[in-house]
């Protein structure tokens, strides 16, 4: 009988070990075959605000105040000064033609302008007093970055090989809305996933940066969407590892009413966030370098910095987790670093 129990315990332990190894790509990062140049800027805690919930994200760039987007208050923004004393609702006036019922309203702030768009193709421009409205038909886009009051850069999508792929597009707002140029992202299988990423506009260098989530690359374009260069980030991941499967969706009568393309294995995110300041791109990476201590990597998060002019890697530094919570969004302006961890908005003094 004792042997039977031992056998069962052995089977369970063996199974747990197999499962652990199968998931080890998410847990064990002991060898990713690259090293970082770790530097230690001064990151000094200044103050923190406990937000009502963890559904907040940074909107636009840090300016005279901090603008926050709240995912369940789609119509407005929240503003707060750098002392993080009190959230203030920034009410946005929408034109009557704007579909405010849209679940997602994408916003960007180019002070004093607040740009809003949705999937209906509505675009509004609110300067605090007056709202100007635009409409673009049959052009699908989501993220928006304002370059000027009359120019926006968006992440669009277009049909390709019976699926969809993504592109970066320049839209000019004048008497009519014109897609002046479209830069298609690489033709890759399951492009809507493999080309998923984050779009930013660096005002100082007038460059558009697009960070790919699943492969270590940053696309650099000028504001006319001319290709400048492609940065290979410090990791060694050159190809996105995504797998997808088409699942038919059936109605009550059993007939296929649609198809859903689903990622069939947990996506392996490489870099998840990018921001810029003073001609540097700051990239939040999820990969540990071989010259990092496991304990340092676990108790902090690593930021890699790149020169925006030429795309070259500069160095990396740690941002500590806050109360054990991971960093989600951050921005830097001068000697100030504003970060969102779960429901905490934190102001750090940051000196490189």
């Amino acid at each position: 009988m004792k042997n039977k129990y031992l056998l069962i315990i052995f089977i369970v332990l063996l199974s747990v070990l197999v499962i652990y190894l199968m998931n080890s790509h998410r847990i064990n990062q002991s060898s990713n075959k690259f090293t970082r140049k770790i530097v230690s800027p001064q990151i000094t805690f200044r103050t923190v605000l406990n937000l009502p919930d963890k559904s907040f994200g940074l909107a636009g760039r840090l300016d005279n105040k901090i603008y926050l987007n709240h995912y369940s208050d789609r119509l407005n923004l929240q503003g707060i000064n750098y002392s993080l004393k009190e959230l203030d609702t920034v009410k946005i006036r929408y034109p009557s033609t704007f579909h405010i019922e849209a679940l997602n309203i994408y916003k960007d702030v180019l002070f004093p302008y607040i740009f809003c768009t949705n999937h209906y193709g509505d675009i509004s421009l609110f300067n605090g007093k007056v709202t100007t409205s635009y409409k673009i038909e049959r052009f699908r886009f989501d993220f928006i970055k304002a370059v000027s009051p009359t120019t926006i850069i968006v992440r669009a999508r277009y049909p390709q090989n019976l699926q969809n792929n993504r592109s970066i597009a320049k839209i000019v707002l004048s008497k009519k809305v014109v897609v002046e140029k479209e830069y298609p992202l690489p033709n890759k299988r399951n492009g809507v996933f493999t080309n998923d990423g984050m779009l930013i506009y660096d005002k100082d260098s007038h460059r558009i940066l697009y960070l790919y989530f699943y492969r270590g690359e940053i696309l650099n374009l000028d504001t006319n969407l001319n290709f400048k260069y492609l940065t290979k980030t410090i990791d060694t991941v050159k190809e996105a590892r995504t797998k997808a499967q088409l699942i038919p969706q059936k109605g009550r009568d059993g007939k296929v009413i649609g198809r859903t393309l689903i990622q069939t294995s947990p996506p392996r995110l490489i870099n998840t966030f990018i921001t810029s300041n003073n001609n540097k791109a700051y990239v939040l990476s999820l990969l540990k370098a071989d010259n990092e201590l496991e304990s340092d990597f676990e108790s902090n998060q690593i930021i890699d910095t790149y020169n925006i002019t030429d795309g070259k890697y500069i160095s990396s530094f740690y941002i500590p987790k806050y109360k054990g919570i991971k960093l989600r969004h951050f921005q830097i302006k001068g000697n100030t670093l504003i970060a969102i961890y779960g429901a905490y908005l934190v102001n750090y003094r940051f000196v490189e």
Binding site: S72, D142, N164, T260, L261, P267, T272
Partner: protein, 82 residues
């Protein structure tokens, strides 16, 4: 003996499930009860609905289970923002 082996199997499946469901969010297209598993920790697209109106929406709850929301995107993109 069979019961013990069965218990061991359940324990193993439970451990595996705990691993695989980390950061999982179940999302539903408008009016549908077919779930889509979003396993993500960032603002990423985890699934895409093809052949529907591009403003069809995605919710946290299926159509037959009470209030839907908060906003999660549109059916073209199943996007979960934690």
């Amino acid at each position: 003996m069979k019961k013990l082996l069965f218990a061991a199997l359940i324990a193993t499946v439970a451990v595996g499930g705990a691993f695989s469901s980390a950061n999982a969010v179940i999302l539903y297209a408008q009016g549908q009860s077919n779930p889509v598993d979003c396993i993500t920790g960032a603002d990423v697209t985890c699934a895409e609905q093809l052949g529907v109106d591009e403003t069809t929406q995605v919710y946290l709850n299926p159509a037959n289970e009470g209030p839907q929301g908060p906003s999660q995107g549109f059916a073209g993109d199943y996007t979960y923002n934690p």
